[in-house]
Structures are given as C-alpha cells and as structure tokens.
Amino acid sequence: MGTFHQGKHALHGITVVVDTVGPEVAVGRCDDIDEAQVILHDADVHRAGDGGPSKEEWVARAAGYGVWPKHRRLVLPRESVASIRPLGEI
C-alpha cells in the first residue's frame, strides 16, 4: 500500500510539532515544507504566556492523544520556524 506524497517533503503526512522563534508552537499534520513556508493540515496553535501552559507543557499534553484541529490549513513563514519534529518522538 503506497503513500501519496510525490514531490512533497519527507515529513508529508506526519504529525509534527512546529516551534517558532516567538511564543507560538503548532501541532498538525505536515503537508509540505519548503524554503518559504511550512504548511500544516488539521492543526492547532498555542501561544505561551498570559498565565497559560508553557510551550513544553502544551506539547507534552498534545503528545498524549493529539490536538483538536482548529485550522484546516495553517501556513507558517519559514523564517518564524525554530524547529520541526515529529510529535510521535515526544
């Protein structure tokens, strides 16, 4: 049974954590990554601070059962991205 990701980034289809250089961190299914942007599907974004959970706490919670999709398609500018890693590795 093959996968359908011709021409896409190697993380296509994988649920990833995208940490940004700012207070936001996102979790979603990677559609594609290129020099300009990271595109996630069925994603949620957390903004740390304001007394809420830290980035690490929010990601740790997401690592349990995943996230409720708040964005069908989320585009993050590449220059805002600090790191990308599979959620399954957390």
Partner: protein
C-alpha cells in the same frame, strides 16, 4: 470526499480477512459498543499510507500473536462517515485521529493509540504495543493461567 471503493477495498479486506468486523453505519457502531462485557478493539482505518499502511498489518499481527480481544471491529474514516462520527462519539475527550486504535474493557477505554504513535513505526512495533495492551486487559485469572508453568 471519499475515495473510490475500488481503491479502498483491499484496505478494508486487510482487516476483515483477519476476522475484524466492519461497521458501516451508526447503528452498527451502537450495536458493537452496546455490548460492554469483556474487551473490544475498535480500529479507525484510513487511506493514509503513512500511518494506516503500518496500522493494518500491526493489528493483523497482534491478533495472531496476542490474546485476542473478545470483539474486534473497524470503521473507515473518510469513507464511512456516519459510522466514523458515531465511533468518535464514544471517545468524546479524544481528538479525531485516523488511523487510530482503541481498546475497551467492560465498556471503559483502557488504551488509545493515536495516529502520531503509529507514524514512522513498523507493523511489529504497533503489534507489540497492542499485544501488551491485550495482555494487560485480560481478566486476572486468564493472565495467571497462561503465566503458570505447565503441570508435570
């Protein structure tokens, strides 16, 4: 939009040929979930090759290697929409995830493997997690029986 039935037929059969009951309607799901005694495995199947391509063989392996749950069924996300929505209704606190695998004991969820715990892993890894969950969910007497040395 659902994929062609021709495309998904082998993906359905990969599970049904291992004795997994396919739930195609909400009524099927309600019937399956209404029987609460014992253990029940519910597999949310999916077209996604990245994860479902490992989930299905993982389930097949686990069913042959481990103590089999009392009842085993599947819904197909993206194909059997009504049945999948109803199945997710039995997991109200868990975000939708496909493929995913839920194990219930006496009607209570005891193990849930979401998509991101399947991605990038082998069928053997997925089966290993399932076999462990099947063993942990067995009644104490049955588990003790299989652990006891054979009588001489």
């Amino acid at each position: 939009m659902p994929y062609s039935e021709l495309l998904v037929k082998p993906m359905r059969e990969e599970l049904t040929s291992a004795g997994v009951e396919e739930l195609r309607t909400a009524a099927d799901v309600d019937r399956f979930m209404s029987e609460q005694e014992g253990t029940a495995l519910l597999v949310v199947n999916s077209v996604c090759g990245c994860a479902a391509g490992m989930a299905r063989p993982g389930v097949r392996l686990a069913l042959t290697e481990g103590p089999r749950p009392d009842r085993v069924a599947t819904v197909f996300a993206g194909q059997d929409l009504e049945a999948t929505a109803r199945a997710r209704g039995y997991l109200p606190d868990i975000p939708p995830s496909s493929p995913s695998i839920a194990l219930f004991k006496d009607g209570e969820l005891v193990q849930f493997i979401p998509r991101h715990r399947i991605e990038g892993r082998s069928a053997q890894d997925v089966a290993g997690d399932l076999v462990q969950a099947f063993q942990a969910s067995r009644p104490a007497a049955a588990a003790h029986e299989s652990a006891a040395p054979a009588a001489s």
